[in-house]
């Protein structure tokens, strides 16, 4: 009963925040609402027995996305104006609400039907539970991500790389040297705080990585936490934008894909199946590489710069 009450409050909160996100006149408020929305979603994931998602949503969905949105908002209103929606022609306004309602209704109906269905036997999920032992980890989500559907994870890393490449390409097209200015404000105690937070974020990341095998966690959550540390260093001016991507950064960006693919290819070359990781050690090795690439990509995307360097 208490659970139901929590769910109800959570659901109402989520819907309200979503509404605020699209209805707030102030764009800053909309972004902030979206970040809180992400945090509530992360609670919802926890309630839905998806702790991996709860961690990922908090770190990536709310954390990194929120930071990206905020910093973009900041850069957009350089002239001091919060971008505000101009009035739409009446005609299109008339159509939006019925369209949205119809879409929501459709989902409710279909979902309702789906919920009442008897469980389909032999789904991919059932098989994943049954054959988890073959992977060498006990967290089924990690098993799916790095085992049964490892290929998805690899292509997803390629998506992340593409996003960074794309962001770099559009940011620096034909205007080398133009870099975003620093966004930080130095406040007393920041140094002390940082010297605490950054090591903690590294620790947490490592913990999440190794826990991923048996408990909630993994490369994505760990990578996001590590990225959060990097974002802090950037925001507080410990790191600044560099005009070029350094060699180390280049290696770091592709490390995840390269280690993952080469491991897979090696297995195939030695008579195994493509991407069949040979045991837990291989999973951890690949996950470490993924974590580093994820963290680095996210920090660089946040900084909107080709590279980073220590503040001189």
């Amino acid at each position: 009963m208490i659970g139901l009450a929590i769910d109800s409050v959570l659901a109402l909160g989520i819907v309200w925040l979503a509404l605020q996100t699209v209805r707030s006149v102030s764009m800053l408020q909309a972004v902030l609402m979206f970040i809180v929305f992400g945090l509530l979603m992360s609670l919802a994931w926890a309630r839905l027995h998806a702790p991996d998602l709860a961690l990922a949503e908090a770190a990536i969905g709310a954390g990194i996305t929120g930071a990206l949105l905020l910093v973009t908002w900041r850069r957009l209103q350089a002239d001091g104006h919060d971008p505000v929606d101009s009035e739409l022609p009446a005609q299109s306004k008339w159509l939006t609400i019925p369209t949205a309602c119809a879409a929501a209704l459709l989902i409710v109906i279909v979902g309702w039907i789906a919920l009442q269905l008897p469980a389909v036997p032999g789904t991919a999920g059932d098989l994943a539970w049954q054959r988890l032992g073959e992977i060498g980890v006990s967290n089924p989500v990690t098993g799916v991500l790095l085992g049964f559907r490892a290929y998805d994870t690899l292509m997803e890393m390629a998506v992340l790389l593409a996003a960074w490449l794309g962001a770099r390409a559009v940011a620096t097209t034909y205007r080398p040297g133009a870099l975003p200015g620093p966004v930080h404000v130095e406040v007393p105690l920041v140094g002390a705080l940082l010297s605490l937070v950054v090591p903690i974020s590294i620790l947490v990341a490592v913990y999440l990585l190794q826990a991923g095998g048996s408990a909630p966690g993994g490369a994505f959550q760990g990578g996001a936490v590590l990225a959060a540390g990097g974002v802090l260093l950037f925001l507080t001016g410990r790191l600044e934008a560099a005009p070029r991507t350094s060699g180390l950064e280049r290696v770091g960006l592709i490390l995840g894909i390269a280690v993952f693919s080469l491991m897979g290819l090696m297995v195939m070359a030695t008579g195994g199946h493509m991407l069949a990781l040979p045991g837990a050690w291989a999973i951890y090795l690949v996950e470490t590489a993924l974590l580093l690439s994820i963290a680095l990509s996210l920090v660089l995307l946040f900084a909107a710069a080709p590279g980073l360097r220590r503040m001189s």
């Binding site: 459709l106 989902i107 109906i109 279909v110 039907i113 789906a114 269905l117 389909v120 036997p121 032999g122 789904t123 991919a124 999920g125 059932d126 098989l127 994943a128 054959r131 085992g147 049964f148 559907r149 490892a150 290929y151 998805d152 292509m155 997803e156 390629a158 998506v159 790389l161 593409a162 996003a163 490449l165 794309g166 962001a167 770099r168 390409a169 559009v170 620096t172 097209t173 034909y174 080398p176 350094s246 060699g247 280049r250 290696v251 960006l253 592709i254 894909i257 390269a258 693919s261 080469l262 897979g264 290819l265 195939m268 195994g272 199946h273 493509m274 991407l275 069949a276 990781l277």
Partner: protein, 493 residues
């Protein structure tokens, strides 16, 4: 060998992309060459294997579907892969000069290009609906920055609009997948066929509708094409070529897979869905054709022509329920092939013209036969294929489509096909007429002399046009190859 070749088609460009990111002067060149050059050789291996067995599966990680993800190669997939290798390859040759690997522009261009190649290969080989979602996103997120690389305001605007709509389309697709997985417990494109008959029709129909809507949006099918013309017209030449010849086709390809492979024949009101899509195709053909006729810039004419020509690919769908299906299928795929080659040739030629003349406005093209003879020749030869005049691949495609329409008794299709071809003739000849025009004596100064462009760039465009022409003579083996993997016609109840 076959497994290795299939895997290589995806992973070589992927690792090549990684290499191009690495530091060092040689890394970019090495990455590009290693990522692209071996593809045709791998394809030869795959093609030979598919000739033997027209339905090749490779289980990644050794996990059988529905648990694992499978790669699937059949004649349709191989045809698409060849198009990626040939069109993408020649466009890359063209791009080598505009985006030299050592330059900052090249540093931005080549990793994205290789990732796009890898993503398209992966997409054409994937047998898993969710993996296809990831592939679609990878295609989108590599294609759009490539558009924006043109750097102009128009191109960034077009990229932004394309991105928003593509993300929306992906979400619709994902929502459909979510419903389908729930209803069937599998994500495998080929296993889902049997599961779908047992699933609740309401959920499945909604899911199919959402997926199709998403794909129609990504495939710029009329009336969801609004993002395409500016995006394709404002991108750098080789990118335009690949966008029009390959990237939009990924969505059409998935529509084929979904409706002709995954949906059990003749169920779930599929005839109506296919007819609806064919009507959209007819609309695209006519609307795109008329709009192409009204454009004042060469690249926009070509881009609207893409909107129109995509229509043919949907027109064949209702014939799945008729006896004319084998001919219709051959015609559709031949159109896919010949349009890809011709359209890529036209975009590359248009890029050369834009480079050489500094403008691609039709009114600035006069005396093109003296200023850019090879580009004009390319436009003309590719145009012949596009209008479906003989001798060209486009002609054979249209012949097959007409024959199928006739045999299936779909007279409205016949009329649409003819009208589409005549519109194409009108906008192509409009370009040619503009190119043969004289200097206007009343104008103060004659058009500027042209800048010279590398002969290889001309050659790449011309070669594609000649290939479009050449497919007019090489149909027999290609059609025989396609025939082996054609989806079965629905037995009419």
């Amino acid at each position: 060998m076959t497994t290795e070749a299939l895997v290589g088609l995806i992973f070589l460009p992927l690792l090549g992309a990684c290499a191009t990111v690495l530091p060092g002067r040689l890394a970019t060149r090495a990455g590009v060459l290693a990522g692209l050059l071996p593809l045709p050789w791998l394809l030869v291996v795959v093609t030979l294997a598919v000739v033997q067995d027209p339905a090749l599966f490779v289980e990644l990680g050794g996990f059988a579907a529905p648990l694992g993800i499978r790669l699937f190669a059949d004649p349709l997939a191989v045809l698409m892969l060849w198009m990626v290798a040939i069109i993408g390859g020649l466009a890359a040759v063209h791009a080598w000069f505009d985006f030299p690997p050592d330059s900052p522009a090249g540093q931005s261009f080549w990793p994205l290009w290789l990732l796009l190649t890898s993503a398209m290969n992966a997409l054409f080989l994937s047998a898993d609906l969710f993996n296809l979602y990831v592939c679609l996103e990878l295609v989108t997120l590599t294609a759009i920055p490539l558009i924006a690389l043109a750097g102009s305001k128009t191109s960034v605007r077009a990229a932004m609009r394309y991105l928003l709509l593509a993300l929306l389309a992906s979400l619709l697709y994902l929502l459909g997948i979510a419903l389908l997985y729930n209803a069937t417990g599998t994500l495998d494109l080929y296993l889902i066929r049997t599961a779908l008959t047992a699933a609740p029709p309401a959920a499945v129909v909604t899911a199919l509708a959402l997926i199709s809507l998403g794909l129609l949006l990504k495939g710029a099918v009329f009336p969801l094409h609004v993002w395409l013309p500016q995006a394709h017209a404002s991108a750098p030449g080789p990118v335009s070529a690949v966008l029009s010849a390959l990237v939009v086709k990924t969505a059409i390809y998935l529509l084929y897979r979904l409706w002709l492979w995954s949906v059990p024949a003749g169920t779930l009101a599929a005839e109506h869905a296919l007819m609806l899509m064919a009507l959209l195709g007819a609309g695209a053909l006519l609307y795109g054709g008329v709009l192409a006729l009204l454009q004042e810039r060469l690249k926009l004419v070509i881009a609207y022509s893409t909107v129109a020509q995509l229509g043919y690919l949907l027109l064949i769908l209702p014939m799945a329920a008729t006896a004319a299906w084998p001919v219709a299928w051959q015609g559709g795929l031949y159109q896919l092939l010949s349009h890809g080659l011709a359209k890529a040739a036209m975009f590359l030629a248009a890029a050369n013209i834009l480079h050489a003349l500094g403008s691609d406005r039709l009114s600035h093209l006069r005396r093109l036969d003296q200023r850019q003879p090879l580009s004009l020749f390319t436009l003309a030869v590719a145009g012949v294929s596009l209008m479906g005049l003989p001798p060209s691949g486009g002609f054979l495609a249209k012949w097959l489509l007409l024959e199928a329409a006739w045999r299936s008794g779909q007279w409205w299709l016949l009329a649409v096909l003819i009208a589409g071809s005549l519109l194409a003739a009108a906008y192509i000849f409009r370009i040619l007429a503009a190119s043969l025009g004289r200097d206007d004596p009343t104008e103060a100064q004659p058009v500027a002399a042209s800048r010279s462009i590398p002969v290889i760039q001309d050659a790449a465009a011309l070669l594609l046009a000649l290939l479009a022409l050449g497919t007019g003579f090489a149909a027999a083996p290609i059609l025989q190859f396609i025939e082996a993997g054609a989806p079965a016609a629905w037995s009419t109840p």
